[in-house]
Amino acid sequence: MTRTRISTFTVDLAATFALAMVVFGPMTGLQLNGFSFIANWQRPLVLAVVVTLGRLAFKLAWGSEWGQRWMARKQGKALDTPKAIGRRNQLWMVALGFVLTIAPFAFEANSYLTKAVILALIYVLLGLGLNIVVGLAGLLDLGYVAFYAVGAYFLALGYQYWGIGFWTALVLSPILAAALGGLLAFPVLRTHGDYLAIVTLGFGEIIRLILTNWVDFTGGPNGASAPGPTFFGMEFSRIAKYGGTPFHEAIGQPYNPNMKFLFLYVVLLVVVGLMVFVVDRLRKMPMGRAWEALREDEIACRSLGINHIAVKLSAFMMGAMTGGIAGVFFASYQGFVNPTSFTFFESALILAILVLGGLGSITGVIIAAFVLTLVPELLRDFADYRILVFGLLMILMMIWRPRGLISAKRPIIELSGS
């Protein structure tokens, strides 16, 4: 008994090690040197050992008496009528939120990391938005980037023509994006599956082509500049362009170019936190349940008196809103927008985040967004092979975890008196 256990244990650890080497090997082990590679096996080896040790720790924990009891409780919960989700999860969320809030301040000197994390958070936002459309409502949207572009260009052009600031855009862009989402939804409403994907793909391209070719209004391929965020009207630049005092003077500190990004990071974190909260609640609401029901079976939905057109419309609009918000952050973060940021590749990347993370799963989407944006940023040397690794990851995922890293959990509702 123990013999077989130990042998399966060893096999499991060996498999973990091998997998870790496969994943980390090409990414961290190959260093570009001119036109050739230098193989550096120490880094992947260290990473793989860390992963294997982690696996070992988990295995031992599960094997221990305490772990067994915990597992038994977990499994007991899964059957029959379990208790509602407890407070422990929420505590974890609060702790995680706290760590994330102070993290960039601890690394203040490293503005590069802050910027990378901001980008990752923008993708979390995009992932959450597309999750509503694809993961919950089951409508494959290949042109999601259009709403992202609308949000970004709204800030840039609004600033240019009407003097709209960051905060105004943050409030108005979801409305504009939702209106556009509704407009797109109309031709889409009667299409299903593949046809829907093609129509949305077309829509994404139309928006990009308009942005590229309407040179007089959008600046065409040259793009347009976008304003940074302000804090009660105080700018984060060295000199206030619109009068008033810049932020660093107001607090009596020397100018720090990183300040803008730190501020943007905090605002973004709050928005992402809110969005996670909202999406989580949506799943437990009639609207979210109707989306999921629509994904499962449209005909059954209609037979229950649910207006499937209204449900699709609401999913598209909610998804578009989130995309619009993400766009505003992106424009403000870059300080500049042009059409090359909104190609089909972006849509595909967001979709990859969803598939990798697990359709419908919030935690999965957050993890996948960080992995797919931070890993390439941190391993710039390997940028040329990014897509190759994505493809490999996707294939491996489809083989071993077809429902994503973390498959979505159903909200459990407690029945009284059972």
């Binding site: 899964a78 059957l79 029959d80 009528t81 379990p82 909260f277 909202v278 609640r281 949506l282 437990k284 609401m285 009639p286 609207m287 349940r289 109707a290 999921e292 029901a293 499962e296 079976d297 005909i299 059954a300 939905c301 209609r302 037979s303 229950l304 008196g305 649910i306 207006n307 499937h308 057109i309 159903r410 909200p411 459990i412 509702i413 029945l415 009284s416 059972s418």
Partner: protein, 276 residues
């Protein structure tokens, strides 16, 4: 005609391209009855169901629904601009189940029943996000109603399981519970006993009677299990080749020569075959 009728089907015709699936179908279903729709395979039973529940728009004729004191015509409900569609028929108090079970397989049993109560819930988005008092009480009521139906169909212990992983017989019962959660006046069951074993079929008969006797709902069912049909139905409509060939109580149907001919072939037809 009769104010006691819950549906009145007049001259219903349905044509798919060159195929006349239904022609001049006339029948009515009495309120608070259990009625059956039978006929050989391909007779057009499910087509009638799809017309009555608003999944097909009939090529001709009218279907009047007399629920809650109003008279509504299915074709007109489907054609209502902008808001119109199948869901309006369901909202008029017609619920249905499907021949090939259509549950929300990746959702829990309880959620299946909550989706069915969509229209009865507080659908205000803001109220749901902040969990207002009104929202919570509406949700609680919905869970209670779902629980009541789970108790009735005997699935309380599976409330948190995925609907798709339930045994087949349980899925059939869940689909009926889900249809009942919409608060219908008429429930249309499309082959509810298909794939059930004899014991489950007996339980189903009890359940269907219970629906009518205790929950004030009219039942219309399509079924091939003649034992079940003759046992529980008070009125039977027989279809063959898209036409109603006989209507009446089980006794009359069982002794009707037309019906027997439709199922087994008439002596005249068989002699023709032999001659050929």
């Amino acid at each position: 005609m009769d104010a006691q009728n819950i549906i009145e089907v007049r001259d219903l015709a349905m044509r798919f391209g060159g195929i006349q699936a239904l022609a001049n179908v006339n029948f009515s279903i009495q309120k608070d009855s259990i009625s059956g729709l039978i006929g050989p395979n391909g007779a057009g039973k499910t087509t009638v169901f799809n017309c009555v529940t608003g999944f097909y728009r009939p090529s001709g004729g009218t279907i009047e629904l007399r629920t809650d004191g109003a008279i509504r015509e299915v074709g007109r409900l489907l054609k209502t601009p902008l808001r119109g569609g199948t869901h309006m028929v369901a909202q008029a108090g017609i619920a249905r189940t499907f021949q090939n079970i259509r549950l929300f397989r990746d959702m829990t049993v309880l959620e299946n029943l909550l989706v069915a109560q969509h229209r009865l819930l507080n659908r205000n988005v803001l109220a749901g996000i902040v969990r207002s008092k009104a929202f919570r009480s509406a949700e609680r009521e919905a869970v209670e109603r779902a629980r009541k139906w789970l108790d009735i169909v005997g699935l309380t212990n599976s409330a948190s399981r995925m609907a798709g992983e339930l045994p087949y017989g349980h899925q059939r019962r869940l689909e009926i519970a889900r249809a009942m959660c919409t608060g219908p006046r008429l429930i249309c069951l499309d082959e509810p006993a298909a794939g059930l074993n004899p014991r489950e079929t007996k339980e189903l008969a009890v359940l269907i009677r219970q629906l009518r006797d205790q929950h004030a709902v009219t039942v219309l069912l399509i079924e091939h299990d003649m034992g079940l049909v003759m046992d529980i139905c008070e009125e039977i409509v027989v279809l063959s080749y898209g036409k109603v060939i006989e209507c009446g109580n089980p006794q009359k149907i069982m002794n009707s020569q037309v019906v027997i001919d439709a199922y087994l072939g008439s002596p005249a037809a068989s002699t023709e075959l032999e001659a050929a």
